[in-house]
Symmetry: C2
C-alpha cells in the first residue's frame, strides 16, 4: 500500500515572494529559514497566499503517515497532487495562512492510516472499507471505496510554541475500483456512482470524526473533513472535492455537509465528452491553433481546466514540441506569452509549461489571477 508518489511536471500556484509571514519569528530567536539545530522554526513564506511550514530541530516535520495511500503504482498521479493541493486550498478559507501555520499530519501514523484504508475484517476491525463478500464480479462484489485518507494540521502561535488549532482530514473516494481476481491476473473494475461513493464517504467520515475525538489531543480542535472523488486511471486530470463539513471543538457528530462544486476538464475536449463552457473551449482552440503553427514540426497543446461554481478558476497548459536550439526556445516562449495574453480567457490564473519531446522542461510562463501579463522563464545552462 505504501508507495513513493511519483509526481508530474505540471503547474499551478505562482508564489510571489513576500516578506516573511507574521509568524516566522514566533518560535525561535533565529526565526525564518535560519533553522537553528534545535527547537521549532518556520520555512518562511514566498507568498502571503501560502502557508509557512514547520521545521523541527533543523528538519522539516514530515507527516507521521508519510507516503501511505491505497493508490497503486499504476494509479493516476494527477489524483495525488490534486487531492493534496485541493485540501490545502480548501483549508485556506477556514484556517487563513495569515493566521495559521501548516504542519504535516502528526496525529495519525502510518499503521493507523494503513489499517483504516484496509477492508474491515476480524484481523482489521478499524478498516473503513467494506468486508469482502464472496463475489468477484464487478457489479456484485464490495469495492474499495476509500482510496486515500490524509491529515493536515493548522497551527497557531502560543507563547514560544505552536498549538494545534485546526485540522483538515481529506477522504478520497474511488470513482472506479481497480482489482484483480488472481495475484498477477487481469485488472477488472467496479464503477462507483457519485451517489454511492458520496453516501459511503459521509458514513466513513462520521466514524473518523468519532475516532479523532477519542484522542485526548483532538478533543477540542476544530476539524474539517473534506470529501474527494478520484478520477479514473485513464483520466488526464485529477478528481475534485464535492463536500466538506466543519466540526467545532468537542462536536462528535456531523450535522450537515456543505457542497463543493468543482469540475475538471482536459482540453481539447474529445468527441462526445461533456466539456467546459463553450467560450473557454473556443479561446483555447484559438490559442492552440496559433501555437501549433509556430514551428514547422507540430506542437502538442493540451490543458487542464478547473471550474468552481461554474466559473473557470484556473488552467494548466502543457506544450510539447521538438526544439533544435536554445534560441528557438527563447523565441517560442516570447511568442507564447503574447498568444496566451491575447487568446486565453482573461482574469484567470494560468500557466504554460513547455516540454521537449523527451520530457524535459524547457520553459514556463504564468499569470496570476490579478496579473495582466505572463511572466516567463527559459531554463538555460552555462
Amino acid at each position: 500500500m505504501k508507495r513513493l508518489r511519483t509526481i508530474m511536471a505540471l503547474a499551478v500556484s505562482v508564489l510571489f515572494l513576500a516578506a516573511c509571514g507574521n509568524l516566522s519569528n514566533s518560535t525561535s530567536s533565529s526565526g525564518g529559514a535560519t533553522t537553528s539545530k534545535s527547537g521549532t522554526t518556520l520555512t518562511g513564506q514566498t507568498s502571503n497566499g501560502d502557508y509557512e511550514g514547520v521545521i523541527k530541530n533543523g528538519h522539516y516535520l514530515t507527516s507521521k503517515s508519510r507516503g501511505v495511500t491505497n493508490t497503486e503504482d499504476s494509479g493516476n498521479v494527477y489524483n495525488v497532487k490534486s487531492f493534496e493541493s485541493g485540501m490545502q486550498n480548501l483549508s485556506k478559507k477556514i484556517y487563513p495562512p495569515q493566521s495559521y501555520v501548516f504542519q504535516e499530519g502528526q496525529y495519525l501514523d502510518s499503521s493507523t492510516v494503513e489499517d483504516w484504508l484496509g477492508r474491515e475484517s476480524s484481523s482489521n476491525p478499524t478498516g473503513l472499507n467494506p468486508k469482502k463478500n464472496k463475489s468477484t464480479s464487478p457489479t456484485s462484489r464490495n469495492p474499495i471505496y476509500i482510496q486515500a485518507l490524509e491529515e493536515q494540521d493548522y497551527m497557531k502561535q502560543s507563547g514560544k510554541s505552536l498549538k494545534l488549532s485546526g485540522m483538515t482530514i481529506g477522504i478520497a473516494v474511488n470513482s472506479v475500483d481497480y482489482y484483480k481476481k488472481t495475484q498477477y491476473g487481469a485488472t477488472y473494475q467496479t464503477n462507483i456512482s457519485q451517489a454511492k461513493g458520496e453516501a459511503y464517504a459521509k458514513d466513513a467520515a462520521k466514524t473518523v470524526l468519532k475516532r479523532l475525538r477519542a484522542k485526548k489531543a483532538l478533543k477540542d480542535v476544530p476539524i474539517t473533513i473534506a470529501l474527494y472523488r478520484q478520477s479514473s486511471n485513464d483520466s488526464l486530470v485529477g478528481g475534485t472535492f464535492f463536500a466538506y463539513t466543519q466540526s467545532k471543538g468537542n462536536q462528535t457528530t456531523i450535522n450537515n455537509w456543505s457542497t463543493v462544486n468543482q469540475k475538471n476538464y482536459v482540453l481539447p475536449v474529445e468527441n462526445g465528452e461533456s466539456g467546459p463552457k463553450s467560450a473557454d473551449k473556443t479561446a483555447f482552440s484559438n490559442f492552440k491553433s496559433q501555437v501549433t503553427s509556430f514551428f514547422p514540426n507540430l506542437s502538442g497543446v493540451t490543458a487542464q481546466v478547473h471550474y468552481e461554481n461554474g466559473s473557470l478558476t484556473g488552467m494548466h497548459v502543457n506544450v510539447t514540441t521538438q526544439f533544435y536550439s536554445q534560441t528557438e526556445i527563447t523565441s517560442f516562449t516570447q511568442y507564447l506569452a503574447q498568444a496566451a495574453q491575447k487568446y486565453l480567457p482573461a482574469k484567470v490564473p494560468a500557466d504554460i509549461t513547455v516540454t521537449s519531446a523527451t520530457g524535459e522542461t524547457q520553459s514556463y510562463l504564468s499569470r496570476s489571477e490579478n496579473g495582466s501579463k505572463f511572466q516567463a522563464h527559459v531554463f538555460d545552462s552555462y
Copy 2:
C-alpha cells in the same frame, strides 16, 4: 553529423514581461504575436533584455542550417545551450535588443555548414578541419578542431521589411576530440591545448570571413566572429567564449581580436580542481548544508557558476530530492527562497531548479541581478 539537440532542464534568464518592443509593430499591421498568415511579424518580447524573433508567413523562421553540428549524440549537451545562449549574450553588447531583431541564420544552409565542419579533402575542399594524416595515435593524428559553427542574424527595420544589419558567427573549438579507430570500436581522445585551439580557430575565422564577404548579401554587413572552447564530455558545465572580433562592412581581413574572460565551474568543487572564488565557494557550501538537512532523506545540491572578468555573474543551482507529497514541495520551495536569500552571494542573478529523483521538475526559484528576492513557482496539477 545532424542530430536533434537534446536539452537539459537547467536554468537562466528570467524574462520579466515588458511591453512589446519598439519593433513589434514594424512590419505588419497586425503586429506582435498576432501572426498574420502572410508577411513578416515578430514574436513579441517578454523582457526588454531579450530579442524579438522573426515569424514569416505564420511560422517561426528557423535556421537554414537547423540542427547541424559536429556534436555527437554522446557529446556534452551543456555545450550546445551554453554556446547558443553565449552567442546571443555577446551579440547584445554589439547589436542591442532595443534596436535589433533576432533572426535565426538564413545565409549558411545545412550542406554548407556540414561541409565546413568536415575535414578538408579532395571531395570536400571547403572543410575547415585539417586533412587526415596517417596516424591514429592521440598525439600525432590531426584532430577535429572545429566542432560547431553557427550563424545568428541581427535585423533592423527598413520601411515595411527587415534588413540584415549585423551577423554573429560562433565557432566552437574542441578541448578534447573524441574519435574511434574502427567504426564500433573504443573511443580515444586527442587533447587540444587552449593555445593550439585558439590559433587554429583564429585561422579558420579568417577563411570564414572571406567566404562570407564573397556573398553579395553579406558584402557590407557588420560581422562579429566569436570563438568558444567546448568543455569535455564528462564536464557538468559547458564551455566558454575566449575571443571575438568585430568586422565592419566591407572589411575582409581580421586585424585584431578582443579577449573574452569567462570561466565556468561546478559547485561543490571536487578535490584537486581549480575553483571559483573562496567566498563564493563558502556561500554555496553554507547554502547546501542548510538545504540538505531539510528532509530526512538527503538532497543533492549542485550549481553551475559563471564568471566574467573574475566576477561571479550568475549561478544555476540544481536540487534533487525525494518528495512524498505536494505539500512537502511547497514547504521546501518556501524554505529554499529564504535560505538562498540568506546564503547565496547577493546581487548575482541566480536560479534554483528542484527536481525529483525521477527527473521531473517540481519547482523553481529565480532572482534577477537587481532583484533582492527570489520568485518561486511550484508545478501543480488539477
